[in-house]
Symmetry: D2
């Protein structure tokens, strides 16, 4: 399993997001409380939207807690949208190309969870990836194949529909192979303007996922938290597990639902796989 | 491009093979003379047959010339069959799972050269891999797909026939995609008893490959070379480029041919792809 | 803090020592129970005595639990004396030269614990290292300076006396700098024939250390443990924390004492720093 | 030996500096033409001045030519002062703490060359480092000790005088130890406002060093070079070897001299070690 964080809001340094909170993602890399594993030391990755055409991605096979380059980067990069992910491998190789977030053009993708019995279903799923996208799969994870399935089903046009189709296919292929619980997932994806976050599992007992309370309310509840003065009213975090022990700050994303973080009103909607 | 070495003979330390010769493979990692690239610094690997059921494989993404663990291992491991490979990536990621030699059960495989326009033909070739073998592909190189094709076509039963079929398929798929020169290769493979070495390319201008003159003749020619006193009469090296500047020591493997190093008489035979 | 294991006995594969026990050192790298830190993921090292003049040392900055090369090495190397160490950095850089065991000629050294306020006392301690040894210090840890102090005081001639002198100096220098608890240590060292293991701390509350019950007794107590049938009567393990939950198998090394594992009767003696 | 580049001028992306020129530093990491070694693959580093109090530093032990994170960083970081260095180890360990540039507060430092017989003189030089700075030495290179000597002699107040004193000491200590040529150096250092570049060697045959012709002249000579339109008139590069084959673009820094790149007129002055 893994832990992740997605931020959208006023430009913030990665350092403020990754290192400053008490129970930060860096701390979770050593002592996760809600994860399936307490240690998430099998590599990490950070993605952000900066001046370039495509988002920046920094991925490493070292544990996040001891990576000096991550710390340097975190202090020097600010961005309105930041993805960060720490990995606990479920068996696949520890290599950069297996670290999240994955990138395709302007899109980032990260995943916590797994495709059940992936070795059994991997070939069928890879064959369902659009032939033009197939050679872009560089690593050996279920998460990267999942991303390329979502791209195949139109992620760039309609993310919720594309993810629903990809999950529907994964469930169908899994069931054909006798897999009891074909998918377990929390997923975040972004095009640099909006962020979508999904929580779902075939068994209906999904990995934890939380979103932060709106900033104006948080400021009233916790005037002492300095970062709240720095960020805009619309800033929002979505996290695998709470970063601070702040009463009223974290709200569970309900089972089988997804949220959209965007300019104006954010949304929280039900998620249902599409079976062809 | 890459450089490689295959040894079969009396148990010898990896250090004697990799470090002691003047123009050793380690030296070639910095200054190859015959390779397509002078620097082969994108990772390396060593495979050997020891006490275990399967051969040992040590692979790293660091340049071979500065890897201390390789040096330690080399000094402490002796084996009757040793494969060593230094990599110059033609673009695919620098990661352990892209380093040679690859292993399947008792089999080792390493390759110098390339599958032409691999991104174009990758999916078709991967689909031709036996479904039970497909999930075992961990990296993103042409060489690993080529190995799994050879396994699919019966490498474990009849290596020359299996390689001929795999190459035939690669050429057919390449030509379907309009690739002028579908394959360029020198390949070594072993089951721990025999070693097969192939030299072939679609264009008929293959990467260099040499085998060493038989040991009794070499001892007469060069009584001053100490290692020749240590090794058995049947010991043999196959290399991408000569390790020492010893007159009479190195013989070019002819175009479109393969050799078998085995107990008793070694063999040198013509190689021709099998087109289905 | 760190965790370590020292084995002396019949030649055994590193794999049998590192991977097979239930609560193996590999498992402890993720979930230590008695360590100051639960995760020991800041690099590791293995040392063993083989055919060469000097022991082999394999060290890496990756976490031990996910290092494939360690697994390969472990399956292919057997040795009558094996040192293994997993590191949890107390702040110094994650680099091979900071990983244990350290080596000097035929000697290996590994340490769990710390020199108090090391940044304060580092220069004075480094100046006390023999000038001929000073340039051999490659990393930045307290443990490596400690090793070179022990060498300076005659480790190669009389290990207990040399360690007592080194600890005496560390305590004297520490107290000069107002350090309350100048040293905390469990240390193992070997010349390839004997193994010495020390447990001591200035505050009298030392890190845990255990030695295994003699093999004949263990075989009677636990006839079901297969590895006991393979190893000689004189085989012995010294460990930071027990590898298996075997009643009667583990004995605490008393505070301020050291043991010698050797041919014939092993010894357990009091340890007292020598103050000049 | 190594290769390096120092840029001062209008904020420019690291990518424009490192990757775009024909004979870029990345290209030099594989095929240096003027260096003592053709391959500089033993790690690299980049330093830049951004929003933080201290400059950012990104250092890695991988070869620069295949490091994906360097490429990502290079595309997303712009800075008015950039240092970049590629390393060819003369024997010391390949580790991040041995990669340049080194940092102390707001200061960066990088070096090409060597301290002669460093293992002989290392202890005496380290003892001359200010005791408060001594513990900050993390690696094992001559270059880092040299930097700490310059800091000891007042680098932060008067860089040319401090470097002259440090070199004077290195020459004196070297000669005491019978070293024929105690130092060989090109050095760049900066406080984020000015850049100083030194060229000197005890033997009077120093490593190559070049500075770029002023931008207005270059624009006239080479109107086709696009980057010249982007940068300010005062922009300047100092490099170990020319990045492009542009007639009139590169000027050799004379033997035993140093330059200062600053607002207003840059300076080029003689350099002479100060012997105490």
């Amino acid at each position: 399993m893994c832990r992740w964080l997605a931020y959208s809001g006023s430009p913030l340094s990665i350092e403020a997001l990754l290192y400053r909170p008490e129970h930060s993602l860096i701390d979770q890399s050593l002592h996760s409380q809600l994860g399936a594993e307490t240690t998430n030391g099998d590599g990490f990755g950070v993605g952000w939207y900066g001046s370039g055409e495509t988002p920046g991605v920094f991925r490493s096979v070292e544990p996040a807690w001891n990576d000096r380059n991550l710390r340097e980067l975190a202090e020097h990069v600010e961005s309105p949208i930041v993805f960060a992910h720490i990995r606990a491998s479920s068996g696949t190789a520890i290599q950069q190309t297996n670290c999240h977030p994955f990138r395709h053009g302007r899109w980032l993708w990260m995943h916590n969870g797994l495709i059940g019995d992936f070795q059994e279903v991997k070939r069928d799923l890879a064959l369902a990836v659009d032939p033009s996208l197939y050679p872009a799969i560089e690593g050996s994870t279920d998460s990267e194949v999942f991303f390329h399935l979502a791209l195949t089903f139109g992620l760039e046009d309609d993310p919720p529909a594309a993810v629903a189709s990809a999950v529907g296919l994964i469930e169908a292929v899994g069931r054909d192979h006798g897999v009891e619980h074909p998918i377990q997932m929390t997923v975040a994806t972004s095009d640099g303007r909006r962020v979508w976050a999904f929580r779902y599992s075939s068994e209906g007992r999904s990995r934890s996922l939380f979103y932060s309370t709106d900033v104006p309310t948080l400021r009233e509840l916790h005037p002492e938290v300095e970062v709240l003065a720095e960020v805009s009213d619309e800033s929002r975090l979505v996290v695998s597990e709470p970063l601070r022990d702040l009463p009223g700050a974290w709200n569970e994303v309900p089972e089988s639902s997804y949220g959209v973080i965007q300019e104006g009103q954010d949304e929280l909607l039900p998620f249902k796989p599409t079976h062809a």
